[in-house]
C-alpha cells in the first residue's frame, strides 16, 4: 500500500535536500538590521494588492456610467467592501513608500554597483510600474480627481516632443476622455501592469539569487560577525514574517480608522478649482508648475533617464573624478529636493 506522500513523491520528484538548499540561502549578517529587510515589503504589499484587487474587481464596473456607483456600492453595500477598499488604498500608499525607502537604502549603500547595475535598472522599472499602478488605480474611482487627474496627465504627456500626441491618444483612447478611457485604465491597472510588475519582481529576485546580496560591513561590528552568515530559514524568514504581520496590522488599522472615502463624482463640465494628485506625484506636479511645458517634461525625462543609468554614471564619476563618494552627496541633495518639492506642493493650494 503506497502512502500518500509516496504517491506525490513518485509523481513530483523533488528532493527535500535540494529544496532546503534552494530556499535556505545563507544570509549575510548585516541583514539582521531591519532596514535591510525593506526590499521584501513592497513584494509583500504587492501580494496584498493582488488579493484585495481581485476581490474588488468582482464588483467594480469599468465604465463612466457605472464606475462611480460601483465603487460606492463596494464601499457601502458589499460585505467587507469598505475594508477591502481601505486595505487596497492604504496598501498602494505603503507600497509606493516601501519602494522609495528600499531604493534609497540601495542607493546610499551603493548596492547598485558592479555587478548589480542591471538589477538597479530592473528596480527602476519596478518603481515606474508601481507609480503607474497608483495613477491608474485612482483613475478608476471616477471621482473628480480621477477624471481631471487623467486629463492633466494626458495633457502633460502631450507636451512630450515628437511622440506627445501619440502618448495622449494611447492614454485616453482618443483625443479626449471618452467611453473607452476607463476600460483602458482598468486593463492597465488590473492586467498589464500587475503582470509586468510580477515578471519584474521574479527577475529582480532571480538576479539577487544569482549574484547574492551585497555584503556590507560596519565599523563598530565585532570581528566574528563580519563576513558571517546566518540561515534564511528560519531566522530571516521570521524577520520577514514580523514585518509582514506588522504591515497587516498597520493596514488593518488604517483601513478601519481612516477608511477610503469618495470625492465628488467626475463632472466633465466642472473643472475643480484645486486639483491635486496623490502625494507621490507631488514632486512631479510641483516640477511641472515650476518649468513650462516641454522644458519641464524634457528635464523630468532627463532626471528619470539619469536615475535609470545611475550605476554607470556613478562608475564614471568614481573612475574619472577625485570624488569617489560623490553619489552620496548627489543622492542627499536629490532626496532633500524631492522632500522639499513634495512639502511645497502639499502646503500650497495651487
Amino acid at each position: 500500500m503506497q502512502t500518500p506522500i509516496g504517491f506525490v513523491r513518485e509523481r513530483l520528484p523533488i528532493s527535500g535536500d535540494r529544496l532546503r538548499e534552494l530556499t535556505n540561502e545563507p544570509v549575510p549578517h548585516h541583514l539582521k538590521r531591519w532596514w535591510f529587510a525593506l526590499g521584501g515589503t513592497p513584494a509583500y504589499l504587492f501580494v496584498v494588492q493582488i488579493v484585495t484587487g481581485i476581490l474588488l474587481a468582482f464588483y467594480y464596473q469599468p465604465a463612466p456610467g457605472t464606475a462611480y456607483e460601483s465603487v460606492r456600492s463596494i464601499t457601502e453595500d458589499v460585505a467587507f467592501g469598505w475594508f477591502l477598499r481601505g486595505v487596497h488604498r492604504w496598501g498602494a500608499t505603503l507600497m509606493v513608500a516601501a519602494v522609495i525607502l528600499h531604493q534609497m537604502r540601495v542607493f546610499f549603500t551603493g548596492a547598485y554597483r558592479k555587478p548589480r547595475e542591471i538589477n538597479w535598472m530592473v528596480g527602476m522599472c519596478l518603481l515606474l510600474c508601481t507609480l503607474m499602478l497608483g495613477f491608474t488605480g485612482y483613475s478608476l474611482v471616477y471621482e473628480q480627481l480621477s477624471f481631471w487627474g487623467a486629463t492633466v496627465a494626458a495633457n502633460v504627456a502631450e507636451g512630450t516632443p515628437l511622440i506627445g500626441g501619440m502618448l495622449k491618444r494611447f492614454l485616453l483612447a482618443g483625443d479626449t476622455y471618452n467611453d473607452h478611457t476607463l476600460p483602458r485604465f482598468f486593463i492597465l491597472h488590473a492586467a498589464l501592469l500587475p503582470m509586468a510588475l510580477a515578471g519584474l519582481v521574479v527577475l529582480h529576485i532571480l538576479i539577487i539569487r544569482l549574484q547574492g546580496v551585497t555584503e556590507l560591513e560596519f565599523e563598530n561590528e565585532p570581528e566574528e560577525e563580519k563576513q558571517s552568515h546566518f540561515n534564511f530559514f528560519p531566522d530571516h524568514f521570521y524577520t520577514e514574517l514580523m514585518i509582514g504581520l506588522l504591515l497587516m496590522i498597520l493596514l488593518s488599522a488604517l483601513a478601519t480608522i481612516f477608511p477610503a472615502a469618495m470625492g465628488p463624482r467626475a463632472d466633465p463640465l466642472t473643472t475643480p478649482e484645486i486639483i491635486k494628485p496623490e502625494w507621490y506625484f507631488y514632486v512631479a506636479f510641483r516640477w511641472l508648475k515650476l518649468f513650462s511645458g516641454t522644458a519641464a517634461i524634457l528635464s523630468m525625462g532627463f532626471i528619470v533617464f539619469t536615475m535609470f543609468f545611475w550605476p554607470f554614471v556613478d562608475a564614471w564619476i568614481r573612475r574619472r573624478t577625485r570624488f569617489p563618494e560623490a553619489s552620496v552627496w548627489i543622492g542627499a541633495i536629490a532626496a532633500l529636493a524631492i522632500i522639499g518639492l513634495t512639502l511645497w506642493e502639499a502646503s500650497v493650494a495651487h
Binding site: 539582521k32 475594508f83 521570521y238 504581520l245 497587516m248 488593518s252 483601513a255 463624482r265 463632472d267 466642472t270
Partner: protein, 527 residues
C-alpha cells in the same frame, strides 16, 4: 535577537492581527445590523427628561417612540431641551417640577438652530400667517363662515347640545392649518390673549403684564388654549412669544425626520388643491415620475443629502428649493424663495426682486426700484440654475426659462393685466362695491387668477403641460370670455338702464379697447 524572541514577537503580532480582523468583523456585523434595521441607533435619554419618558412612555407611547427614532434622541436632546419655558413666559407652567410650555416655537428651536431659524424667519413661509388679513381670509371667515358666533336655528341636530356655532371653524381648520393660526390663550373675562395683547419684547417675554394677568388657567395652573388656535402647525403661525412660524410644519414632531422633509409628500400637506397644486404638478412632471420610480435609490437618509454627491436620480421639492447641491457647496437654505425668480401668487406675476426685508418690490419707477433691490430675481434664478445644471446643460436650462418667461408674459398681458384693469374700472365707476365676493364678477375674477391662472403658471414653472393648459390657460380663457366679460357687459347694460350712462361708457370703453387688441381678435371675429 534570538530565534525564540522572534517567535514570541511573531506570536504576539499574529494575535494582534487576528484581533484587528475580529474588530473588522465586528464593524461589518454592526454595519449590517443597522442597515437591515436589526438595531436602532443608540439613544440616550438625558437625566432632565428621564421623568418625562417614564410617564409619557405609558401615557403617550407613540410620542416617545417617535422621539427615539430622531436625531435628537441620538444626540441626547430630550423633552425638556425643547419644551423648556423660562420664568415670565406667558404659556409656561410647572409640570412635576419642570417649567415647560406646550407650544415649541422657532424661537425655542433657535436655541440650537439659530442660523436655520434666521433664514426661515425671512422666508415667505414665515410670513404665511399674514393671510389673516387677506382676501382669502375674507372668503373663509365671512363668505364661507361668520366672524361672529351665532345661535343654531330651530331644533338642535339630534344628539347635539344647543350651543353657539363657531363661525370661524372653516378658517381655523382650513386656512390656518397651513398658513398658521394666531395662537391664543383663554382669558378670565371670556376674551382671548394673543401676541397682540402680550406685546413681547425682543427676548420674547410679554411686556403687557395686564394681559398676562388675565390668562385663564386650569386647576393645575396650566394656561388654557383657545381651541380655535391650537393645535396648529401652520407654517406662519403667530406665536405668543412674537416669533413666526412652526418648524414642525415640515419637520413633523417628534422624530423631526429630515428624510420626510425631503419628500414631496411632506410639502403636499399644503401645496396642492385647486389654487396651487404644486404637488400634483410635480407628480405630472418628469421630475415626479423619476422620483416615484427611483425613490429607493435616492439615499434619503444621508446626513447632508447633497445633490450630485448623495443622489442624482430625481429632484424633489426640497432638492430645487432648499437642499444643498454640489455647485453651491452643499448649502441648504430654509428660505425657499431664494431660488424662485417669478412670484406667481398675485393676480399679475412679478419678478422676484426683493428688498432688504425680503419683500417683493412692486415699485415701477426703475431708479427707485434699483435702490430698493437687495436681491434680484436674476440672482435667484442663477441659484436655481445651479440646481438644474446637475442634470441639464446650460442651453437646455436657459431655453426652458425662455419658455417659462414667455408663458408668464402671455398670461400677464392677455388676461391678468386686462382683468385687473376691468375690475379696477368697475370699482372706480362705482358699478360694483369695494366689498369682495358680493357680485358674481368678483367670483369670476378670483377664480381666473387665484385658481386657474396660478395652476397655469405653476404648471409652466414645473413642467406639467396638462396643468399649464387644460387645468390652466384653457380655463383662464373660458373664465375670461364666457364668464367675466358677459358679466361685465350685463353690469354695463344694467347701469345704462338705470341712467348711469357715463359710468357704463367708462367701463364699456375699457372692455372694448381690450377686446380690440390683436391678441383678442379671434374671439371678436367669432362673436
Amino acid at each position: 535577537m534570538t530565534l525564540n524572541a522572534k517567535r514570541w514577537i511573531i506570536a504576539f503580532l499574529g494575535f494582534t492581527f487576528l484581533a484587528s480582523l475580529l474588530f473588522v468583523q465586528y464593524e461589518e456585523v454592526t454595519r449590517r445590523r443597522v442597515e437591515v434595521g436589526l438595531t436602532s441607533h443608540s439613544i440616550s435619554i438625558p437625566a432632565s427628561s428621564k421623568q418625562c419618558a417614564e410617564c409619557h412612555g405609558q401615557l403617550t407611547p407613540a410620542i416617545l417612540d417617535h422621539w427615539k427614532g430622531s436625531t435628537h434622541a441620538e444626540k441626547g436632546v430630550g423633552c425638556v431641551e425643547c419644551h423648556r419655558a423660562e420664568k415670565g413666559d406667558v404659556d409656561g407652567f410647572d409640570h412635576y417640577g419642570a417649567l415647560i410650555a406646550t407650544v415649541v416655537t422657532p424661537r425655542d428651536c433657535a436655541r440650537c438652530h439659530a442660523a436655520v431659524e434666521s433664514e426661515f424667519a425671512r422666508s415667505h413661509h414665515a410670513a404665511a400667517g399674514n393671510i389673516l388679513a387677506s382676501l382669502d381670509n375674507t372668503l373663509a371667515e365671512q363668505v364661507e363662515g361668520s366672524r361672529t358666533p351665532f345661535d343654531p336655528h330651530g331644533a338642535p341636530v339630534a344628539g347635539r347640545k344647543a350651543e353657539p356655532v363657531n363661525g370661524m371653524a372653516f378658517a381655523q381648520v382650513g386656512c390656518q392649518q397651513c398658513h398658521g393660526s394666531k395662537v391664543a390663550l383663554k382669558a378670565t373675562d371670556g376674551s382671548k390673549v394673543t401676541v397682540d395683547d402680550l406685546k413681547p419684547g425682543p427676548d420674547g417675554k410679554p411686556t403687557n403684564l395686564d394681559a398676562v394677568g388675565k390668562v385663564l388657567k386650569d386647576q393645575n395652573g396650566k394656561p388654557m388654549f383657545d381651541a380655535g388656535s391650537w393645535p396648529n402647525t401652520g407654517i406662519g403661525r403667530l406665536n405668543l412669544d412674537g416669533s413666526k412660524g412652526s418648524c414642525s410644519a415640515c419637520h413633523s414632531r417628534h422624530d423631526f425626520s429630515p428624510r420626510r422633509a425631503r419628500q414631496p409628500e411632506n410639502c403636499g400637506k399644503c401645496h396642492l388643491g385647486p389654487d396651487h397644486p404644486q404637488k400634483e404638478i410635480y407628480e405630472e412632471s418628469k421630475h415626479g415620475v423619476a422620483y416615484r420610480d427611483l425613490k429607493d435609490k435616492m439615499n434619503l437618509d444621508a446626513p447632508k443629502w447633497v445633490l450630485g454627491k448623495d443622489y442624482t436620480q430625481a429632484p424633489t421639492c426640497a432638492t430645487c428649493h432648499m437642499s444643498g447641491n454640489l455647485r453651491n457647496g452643499g448649502r441648504v437654505t430654509h428660505d425657499p424663495g431664494e431660488r424662485i425668480s417669478w412670484t406667481n401668487r398675485p393676480p399679475i406675476s412679478l419678478p422676484m426682486d426683493t428688498d432688504a426685508e425680503h419683500r417683493v418690490i412692486t415699485e415701477a419707477d426703475s431708479e427707485k426700484r434699483a435702490k430698493l433691490i437687495a436681491d434680484t430675481a436674476e440672482a435667484k434664478r442663477t441659484r436655481m440654475k445651479e440646481v438644474c445644471s446637475h442634470c441639464h446643460t446650460s442651453d437646455y436650462v436657459n431655453l426652458f426659462y425662455k419658455q417659462y418667461d414667455d408663458f408668464v408674459a402671455l398670461y400677464n398681458e392677455k388676461f391678468a393685466k386686462p382683468g385687473k384693469l376691468i375690475m379696477d374700472t368697475l370699482v372706480k365707476a362705482d358699478l360694483i362695491t369695494k366689498k369682495q365676493f358680493d357680485e358674481p364678477v368678483e367670483w369670476s375674477w378670483y377664480l381666473l387668477w387665484h385658481h386657474e391662472g396660478r395652476r397655469a403658471r405653476h404648471g409652466a414653472s414645473m413642467m406639467a403641460p396638462d396643468y399649464a393648459h387644460w387645468h390652466g390657460t384653457f380655463e383662464v380663457a373660458e373664465r375670461f370670455y364666457e364668464h367675466m366679460i358677459p358679466q361685465v357687459r350685463e353690469i354695463v347694460e344694467k347701469a345704462r338702464a338705470e341712467g348711469k350712462t357715463d359710468a357704463a361708457k367708462q367701463v364699456e370703453d375699457v372692455v372694448n379697447e381690450i377686446l380690440n387688441r390683436p391678441e383678442h381678435s379671434y374671439i371678436l371675429k367669432q362673436k
